[in-house]
Symmetry: C2
Subunit: 360 residues, 2 copies
Amino acid sequence: MVEPTANMTTSPTVQTAPQNDCFLRACRREKNTRTPVWLMRQAGRYMAEYRALRSRHTILEMIRDPALAAEVTMQPVDAFDLDAAIIFADILPILDEMGLGLEFIRGEGPMFHHPVKTPADLDRLRPRPAREALGYTIEAVRETLRRLKGRIPLIGFSGAPFTLACYAIEGHGSRDFLGARRFMCAEPAAFHRLMDILSAAIADYLVEQARAGCHAVQLFDSWVGILGPADYREFVLPYNKRILDTVRAETGVPSIHFGTNTTGILPLLREAGGDVIGVDWRIDLADALKLLGNGVAVQGNLDPALLLGPQERMRSAAAAILDAAKDRAGFIFNLGHGIHKETPPENVAALVDFVHQYRP
Amino acid sequence: MVEPTANMTTSPTVQTAPQNDCFLRACRREKNTRTPVWLMRQAGRYMAEYRALRSRHTILEMIRDPALAAEVTMQPVDAFDLDAAIIFADILPILDEMGLGLEFIRGEGPMFHHPVKTPADLDRLRPRPAREALGYTIEAVRETLRRLKGRIPLIGFSGAPFTLACYAIEGHGSRDFLGARRFMCAEPAAFHRLMDILSAAIADYLVEQARAGCHAVQLFDSWVGILGPADYREFVLPYNKRILDTVRAETGVPSIHFGTNTTGILPLLREAGGDVIGVDWRIDLADALKLLGNGVAVQGNLDPALLLGPQERMRSAAAAILDAAKDRAGFIFNLGHGIHKETPPENVAALVDFVHQYRP
């Protein structure tokens, strides 16, 4: 098991203050001059620049080469007036590096050759310190910061333990991750042990990204919304809390805690922690702000389908979000989930400009 | 366009009162002697009896043969102490009968050969009165009622217009029905026209099932949870309301209004109507009861994954639901979505007995 404190350096983490700090001011719930906007999966297949690189490299090659990862990270930053960059990486390599054998199969998505099918399979997991196992992403953070030249902050990220456990057990993507759910119910002690192993590795990974200079980190619990509240409290909350507490104690950088289909468990996400709670599009933002209360910043929540067009409908939905958030210190405009690969880039440009220019 | 009133007979609908009426008492929010329980997709692949029939017939053959459909409907009723039967049918034949060309492809699920890809494709739709187009299901209702001999009530059902529109446009199942979402945003007038055509046909279909003797009907809006509240209000609410109002005005039988991922839009489902609101498992039942208020019955909401076992965890989750509902007139125990095909039948038996015997 990786102890997140085992790799502590004695030097404190010092992030270089970016020239555009509206994203960080929102994370800290300070008064802001403009609403910050960035978009989940902003570096991706909807951009011709990305597809051009992708045609010559596999996803894993792009992630494992710090120069390529930094280049991809910069593509949307150079194309649009975004208020934060997010390091180009994926949530799954951390599992690959533990020995699960990740492969991205064209047209089918990610697949693990050695999934966790029984409690005994947990003994096969070989977690190593993030600076060794995921050193390429740590180096990509440093390279990206050099290229950003302090313009805007850089966000690091990791998948959350439940979402990663789903993949580790199921072995591939799934609508309902029923195999993982069955494992959780039938082998609760082993599931807790898996969550424990993953949490330690994830905390270490996020801490290392912050130490390399990331100004904030996001915990992606993308599929946690398949759980009801009681299961979330028992199997997820303590682990996400441990990760978010560790990031705060070890680095002091703000953290964003995000999931989809979480309307019924939003107060539990809040309880688990994070300076910012990321909200999907299935809830009216005004309701989400009420549910979450004032002591936390909020990020969200435009339906990514609206970016497919027409722009008029996209703008009107963005305006409704900005209206709902207008009296809120600590709001970050984002989508409710990752941008779709079918999105026209001109709609992204139009959205970013609209958010900056809109006056509720 | 089918006018739901066009097939009205002058005789009023009279349902035979079943000996076990606890389900209907709950629909009407009357005091009850026991908590009624039935399970969505209770006739299905998890039962050996079903698989035996299925090995000799396609799904569409089973649906289109009233004797086979009645036989399948009776399988869970004979095996478990259920308080309601639901007619064996599928949400998609109504689209097939309009000319979309439905085929169930082994291992892939439903596929339409002639999906709605452009507004002009709407002119190809050929809705006919349900008693002609879906006469086999109407006849299956009559045959099932003969076999039930008044023991328990029979529920009829239909897919809701949004869920059907998703399939009609996408042409197959999907995680996010992005093609349908894009059509909705880009061609709102055509999407409204499709919803209008579907609503009329669905209302007619539900009315005919009630006229044939169904004691209640359920509107399955299974995939409506991909929409945010504003889109739901604009594109869905008026149509579901029209259907549910028509069923009430024409037949007087209670209706159940169900969807998944609806936590953020539950009050809007309530506004659209239904004597009973079906709730998925992603919300604590106590929260759902509070959100919905007292003027409506509620059905739900055990996570179907818990039926995979172990039984102890399943029972404890069922107890939490029954505790939350204990002071509520008008509660029907059900799953939060359809039963999984991997479910051991002995767990279904244990669950049904537990619900009946439990005293909060």
